[in-house]
Symmetry: C2
């Protein structure tokens, strides 16, 4: 169950990953869980949000570009081990962005 990430005061970084899946699981669920587990153990990880309908959108938040680079190194290894991204993704786009400002209201529950 994805929640709204409790990120610190801006600036920080967001990796916006948007994708269309191929049909069938083919180990995808397990791999995705591992990617999140790798991320959340990593220094500089601030949170992650995820939802899928027609497209899937996963936004992970990071302290700096260095942390993102480290996570990318780990997850690319994981993706390579599993015969590459073509198996799971019909198409995808990754966007590295710097959050300059944020606002809103969150429950404390």
């Amino acid at each position: 169950m994805s929640e709204i990430a409790k990120t610190p005061k801006a600036p920080y970084y967001a990796v916006i990953f948007t994708s269309h899946r191929t049909d069938g699981d083919k180990g995808y669920g397990e791999m995705a869980d591992k990617m999140v587990a790798l991320g959340s153990k990593q220094s500089g990880f601030l949170g992650i949000e995820s939802a899928r309908e027609n497209v899937g959108i996963t936004v992970s938040y990071w302290k700096d570009l260095e942390s993102i680079k480290e996570w990318k190194k780990d997850t690319e290894h994981l993706l390579a081990q599993k015969e590459g991204k073509n198996k799971w993704y019909a198409e995808f786009k990754v966007r590295i962005s710097k959050v300059e400002r944020d606002y809103g209201f969150l429950n404390n529950g």
Copy 2:
């Protein structure tokens, strides 16, 4: 049906809107359609991606901060007319970010 946005070469801006809905539609669908329609008519609008499961994530892409400001003005008017955000959102977060780099592969279909 949301697709992966065909954004131009970075840099450009992304507004990441993450939310938990309240129960029931209460005119939400109509309002959301209007917000997207307002955005897509606006100068500087580059695309939008959206998915909802437990949380909803909508990412809209913009040429510059000025375009975002204009859209915000229009949509806040719309939200105010409809008795505010509390009616539809139990909680939400808006993050204004600058996309510095992107990569991936997209189908042309």
